[in-house]
Symmetry: C2
Subunit: 482 residues, 2 copies
């Protein structure tokens, strides 16, 4: 194997091929450190030509390939294959073109999410999807995971903000997918590739849509003594046709952790807080702030505060954005879940999570994108205490199955990767999984790209043995069907 | 063959199977009457179970199947196969569920587009995509073609307004695709199926998103003596971050035809008119009307009129919506094209179309969704004059190739069908077409669903013999590259 992999230096500079155990160690996991694996080799190509040669070589010799951006993923999607090549795209950092008139930018796959917005800022533009990891994560990784962020309620996920990608197939063929126009002929491969977690191809270039920076942004923070009241406020905001730029919810455990960490000014006694950001032109924002204020009051908010200036607005958000590390400070370990549910089941699902938390004896802090029903329950545990990791994983699995049961899905924006592959058996039936495998074969007949991730084999599902509960065949009779 | 097809009556009521030449004739074409073909049989199943049995039967006997909604398509996508079964879904007309709280409706595939908005109107909601054929066209057909309409600039195409579909594969297996939640795990089959022109499966149920009706809508009509000025007004409206609910452009030939037909109140001397609709709450609309007014004035509009009341607003739109039949009144025949280009090339492309019109000696009237660059050039001709049909087709082909050359695509919302299958060879290279065929095989290995449509064989492209001009390898040096 090593002798074979050493042949990679025939078309890559020597220092772009890492083969020693020591050299490949930094690549052994992504942001989800619970899973670790060392690849047989890491390659760091410098040109598209080198990427193509690596792929052709691996295709010919049937060597698995896992592509990697910044490695900030949270589901083990970039976990290396021990008999495979880890293909790092870190060197593809150039912004190739900015077209302020068409409001697009064409960038290489390794460009960081935030770097796009920084580069186009002089034109008054920005790139809307803003995952929490946006300082570090790359646009190629964003495409692989169909990343969202606080603003995706109003501005959409990655799939809604890209126009065209250039992608290598496993055989090393370069495809151009999508177009600069509003729609494209042929099958919609752009949406298919987006969120496919590196199983269908290696994206090397992305043309993104840019948006003009809104004239104004304003945020309201509301406290509630009851999560159901907060949930109904969310429903009413949306029902009135208001689309906030961000609509986030945190429960008491998350509020306390965040306040303790960054002093965001949150009321630590509140059961729940809602953060609602509105953006647009000044009149529009002022009008909507008035509407939202009234809705929050009517829903029974115990306190409503409007950021008095830009500094306070950023402070309100700082607490939310630091919620994960803040929870990390109060617990030796935490397990961040990522399920999405139809908004109307928020209160029911939160109630059930509280029950499960008691049952497992593990604290769960809830932080989530309330506007689009994307939950991030953080399960607190201590991996050094025997059995706690397994308990946390089991509790996490139950939460994901609960999301499916109310008509939701096991992932909002973090992807399936390794982490949630068993829960895919709950979400999809064997016909649907078979269709996924057929589709994978159409791009990668030998199954070499990112093997064993995202789509479970039927064999694995049979072993996992959980019932398929697709779309609301509810195991919990108390939940109303969607 | 007939003996075999008669077996269909084993699982369908007798009057749901049409076999005589006379009985199948009404199904020989869709809205594009230039292509006609009679199917071997027409079936009109009444239940999903019957649809499944028809598909299983045809799959077993390798009989081609073409699904059909209302038959209003404009690219021959529902053209029958002469040795195949035409599967009419006309009887699936039930609205299955309306959920005003989640703002969704679940409907059968044969429900008419407008019937959805009518059914949900009592809840203050509507379904946004509004193709011109919305009175007649079905939601299943909308999914097959990824239909747009006047409002898609602001509210998106069909793919942006549906959440879940139930679909039979050619083998008769029922898949549920998508979910009621914001995102879904697994490959994004929902986007893949949408716009796949009936080649991947037969959609039988659709869950659509609904939107609250805007508080107010207002329209401005502006006249220009020069199409370049109108084009720059469009660019400036978008550049200022205004997203009109509709932004439509008509040239002099289209203005005269429409005015003559419906007396919309258009200035018949104008080179071009722009219709710009703004919707939202009253303050927002008023503010934006002011902004747009200023932009239009600065761009050199010779006349700007704001609809004084709802009746005049509808009258302004009546002219635009009747443009196709209006042109039909002044010419024995017309050929409606549907290409999409990056907005910034509007003026250049219109100039080139004018040259081509002169060169071919055929009048072209231009009507289009200016906001999203979706052109509908109408080529006027007389099929009774020898050679004119061929001339019109050749001119149409050149216009589509022009769209590809500037970085656009050969279809905005009408689909490829039979009509534009040769131009697919211009838009995609052989690698990309091969990928499309592999993907088709993953759903329909025997190629029985809607054969010979939408995706050309490599053999066909070799015969067509036109150069692939993907993404801006320009045959016209005077056009700037995207």
């Amino acid at each position: 194997m090593i002798a074979l992999l050493q042949q990679l230096t025939q078309f890559l500079p020597k220092d772009s091929v890492l083969l020693t155990d020591e050299a490949v160690r930094p690549y052994e996991c992504d942001g989800l450190s619970a899973y670790r694996e060392r690849p047989a080799a890491v390659v760091l190509p410098n040109t598209l030509d080198e990427v193509q040669q690596v792929l052709k070589f691996c295709y010919q010799h049937k060597i698995p390939v896992v592509a990697r951006g910044a490695g900030t993923g949270l589901s083990g999607g970039a976990l290396p294959h021990k008999a495979g090549v880890l293909l790092s795209l870190a060197k593809f950092k150039r912004i190739l073109a900015i077209d302020p008139k068409s409001r697009t930018a064409r960038v290489e796959t390794g460009v960081r999410n935030l770097a796009i917005s920084q580069a186009v800022a002089p034109f008054g533009l920005y790139y809307a999807p803003d995952p929490s990891s946006q300082v570090a994560c790359t646009i190629g990784g964003n495409v692989a995971e169909n990343s969202g962020g606080v603003h995706c309620l109003k501005y959409g996920l990655t799939v809604h903000n890209i126009l065209e990608v250039k992608m290598f197939t496993m055989a090393g063929e370069l495809l151009t997918i999508g177009s600069a126009a509003y729609d494209s002929a042929g099958y919609d491969l752009l949406a298919l590739i987006t969120g496919s977690e590196g199983l269908l191809g290696v994206v090397v270039e992305v043309t993104v849509r840019l948006l003009p920076k809104p004239e104004q942004a304003q945020v309201l923070m509301a406290a509630f003594d009851d999560v159901i009241k907060a949930g109904s406020a969310v429903a009413e905001i949306i029902a009135q046709g208001i689309i906030p730029a961000g609509l986030e919810m945190m429960d008491n455990a998350a509020i306390r952790a965040a306040e303790d960490f960054v002093k965001a000014g949150y009321p630590v006694e509140a059961a729940t807080i809602l953060l609602c950001e509105l953006d647009g032109n000044a009149e529009e924002v002022e009008h909507q702030i008035g509407q939202v204020n009234q809705i929050l009051r009517q829903a029974g908010a115990t306190e409503i505060r409007q950021a008095v200036d830009e500094q306070q607005r950023l402070q309100f958000w700082a607490g939310r954005k630091a919620a994960f590390p803040a929870v990390g400070r109060i617990s030796p370990d935490y397990y961040c879940m990522d399920g999405t549910i139809p908004r109307k089941h928020l209160a029911t699902v939160l109630g059930r999570i509280a029950e499960l938390s008691q049952q497992y004896g593990l604290v769960v802090a809830n932080v989530f994108h309330a506007g689009d029903g994307n939950l991030h329950p953080l399960i607190l545990f201590d991996a050094n205490k025997a059995g706690q990791l397994e308990k946390a994983e089991a509790l996490g699995g139950e939460i994901l199955e609960l999301c499916v049961a109310v008509g939701g899905t096991i992932t909002g924006e973090h992807g399936v990767g390794m982490e949630k592959i068993n829960q895919m058996c709950v979400q999809f039936n064997s016909l649907e999984l078979t269709q996924f495998h057929a589709l994978k074969k159409a791009f990668d007949p030998d199954g070499l790209l990112n093997p064993d991730k995202a789509i479970p084999t039927l064999h694995r599902c049979a072993e996992f043995g959980k019932l398929h509960v697709h779309h609301g065949e509810l195991p919990f009779p108390e939940l109303e069907r969607f």
